[in-house]
Amino acid sequence: MFGEGILRGLAETARNFFGSYVSKDRLTTIQFPEERIAPIEATRDFPFLVYDGNDWDAGMRCVACQICEKECPPKCIYIDKSKDKKPDAVGKQQFYPARFDIDISVCMSCQICVEVCPFDAIKMDTDFELSTDNRFGGLLLDKHKLAKSNEYYHHIHPTEAAAVDAALADERAKTEAKAKAAAEAAAAKAAAAATPSAAPKESAGGE
C-alpha cells in the first residue's frame, strides 16, 4: 500500500539478476545445440526397425507380417512382402520385407505399430533432428535408414530393450527345449526302430 510491495519486487528481480551470474538455479537456459539435456527413457519420436548382430539386412527381425501397416492410423507404413524366404536370427526360414518405407511427415508417433508387432521388430526411436531440405522424399525413410542395431536400442531404451531381450531369450530357450525334446524322442524312436531291423539283417546275412 505504501509501495513496499514494489520495493520487495525490485529486490527479488535484483536477486535474480545478480544470482544468474553465480548460480545455475537462476539461469536455467540450456544452450541447444551446444548443450543438451539427456532425454528420459520413455521419449519417443518415430519408429525404427531393430536388427540383431552386425548385418542389418540379414539380422532384421521383421518378417513382413504387415500387421503394423494395417494397424497404422494415418497409414504411413508401406510394406512389400518378398517372394522368397531367408533364414532369420534363429535359422528358421521367414519372409522378409523387400520394401519397408515409413513417411515420417505423416507419422503421428502413436506407437500402435510397436504395440501390435508380434516379433519386437519395430520400436520407437528418440532422434528428432531429422530436418532435411529435400521436400520430395527426404522424409520418406526406407529400410536401410530405418534399420538400427539392437545395441542402439539398448542405448536409448535400456530397460525396455533388456525386457525384450529377456523375453526373446526365454522364447528361444523354450523353442530349443521343445526341439531338443522332439529330437530326443525322434532319436529314441529311430534307435528303437534301428535295432530290431538290424538283428534279422545280420542273421540273414550270416547263412
Partner: protein, 398 residues
Amino acid sequence: MIVLSPSNIERIDQIFVLTKHWLMGYVPAVAQPLTSAILSVLPVLIAFPAIFAVTTLLERKGLGRIQNRYGPNRTGPWGVLQPMADGVKSLTKEDIVPATADRWVHFFAPVVMVIAAFLAYSVLPIGRNMVVVNLSSGVLFFFAIGALVEVAIFMAGWSSRSKYSLLGAMRAIAQMVSYETPLVLAGLVAVMATGSLSTVSIVEAQAQYSHYLPNWFVFTPWGFAGFVLFMIAATAESNRSPFDLPEGESEIIAGYFIEYSGFKFALFFLAEYLGMFATSGIAITLFLGGWSAPFSFLTWVPSYLWFFLKLLAITCGFIWIRGTLPRLRMDQLMHFAWKFMLPMTLLNIFAAAAWKFFPVGILRWLGCAVFLAVAFVLLTRGLKKRGDVSVRQYRFAD
C-alpha cells in the same frame, strides 16, 4: 603519460569545447554562425543514437538475466553486435504502407516524432559549458517540446486507418496528457529552488559542495519526492513499462505503430528511446546535479562523464522497473495520475516553498520530510479501495 595537473584536467573536461573553437578558427567569418550551430548539434546527433544502440542491447541482456535466461549472445561475444544486426534488419525490411492509409501523414508521423525527440536535447547541459543553446527558459522549452510528441502519435495512429492503431493512439495521447501535469509540477520544485528557468543555472546552483557532499536537490525531502514523482511521470510519458498499455505487445499488438514496418518502425523505436533519454537528462539536470560530481574530491573526472554515468544509472533503473512490474490497466493508469500524482506534486510544491521560508538547519529538513511522509500515508490510505464485494453497478451497460 598525462600528468593530472589542474590545467590538464581542465583541458580534458573541456575537450569538446576546445575542439570546436579550434575548428571554428579554420572557418571564414561569413559561415561562422551556421558552422557553429552544426558543430554544436553534431555531437548530440552522434552520441545519443549510439547510446540508444547500446541501451537496446543492455535492455535485452538485463531483462534476460532478470528473467533467468541469457539475452542475445550469438551475434558477437556477449551479443555486442546485436544492435548492428537489428539495424540491418530494420533497414532491409520491406516498407509496407496500408492501401487505405493516408500516405503523407503516415510518412511524416515518425519524422515529426524523431524531430521532437532530438529538439529536446538542445537545452540539456551535458557538461560544463556544453549545452547546445542556453535558453533563459530552457525548462519551459523542454516541456513544450514534449507536447509535439503527442501530435506525432496522433498522426501515426490515425493515418494507419486501423482500429488497433486508432485505439492505441487515443490511449497513448490520453496517458501522455494526463501525466504531463504531474511531470511539469514535479519539475517545478527545482525551478522554485533555483529561481531561474535556465537549465545551466539550475545545474550550477547544484554544483556547490558543503563539506564533501554536493547540493543536489535529490538530497532534500522535497527534491527526493520530486525526483521520484518526476521519474514515475517520465516513465509514463515515454510509454515504458509499467505504463506501456498503448504499445504492449500482448495487449494491442503494437498500438499506434502497428502498421509501420522497416525503417519507420525503427524511427519510432529510436524516438521513444530518445524521449526516455531526454526525460532522464532533464531529471538529472533538475534533481541529480547535472554534470557535477557526487563528492568534492571527485571533480577531476570530466563533467560529461558524470552526466553519462548518471544517465546509465537511470537507464538501468528503467530496465529494472520494466523487468519487475506488470502492466497497469488504462483506468488504473488514469486514477494513479489524477488521484495520486497530481495531489502529491501539489503538496510537494508546498513543501518546497516551506523549505525556502524556514531557517537553514536540520529543523526544516525534518519538517518537510515529516510533512511529505504524512501526506503520502494519508493519500495512499485514503485512495485504497475498501474490500467491499457487492454486485457491480454499471453506468453504461444494461
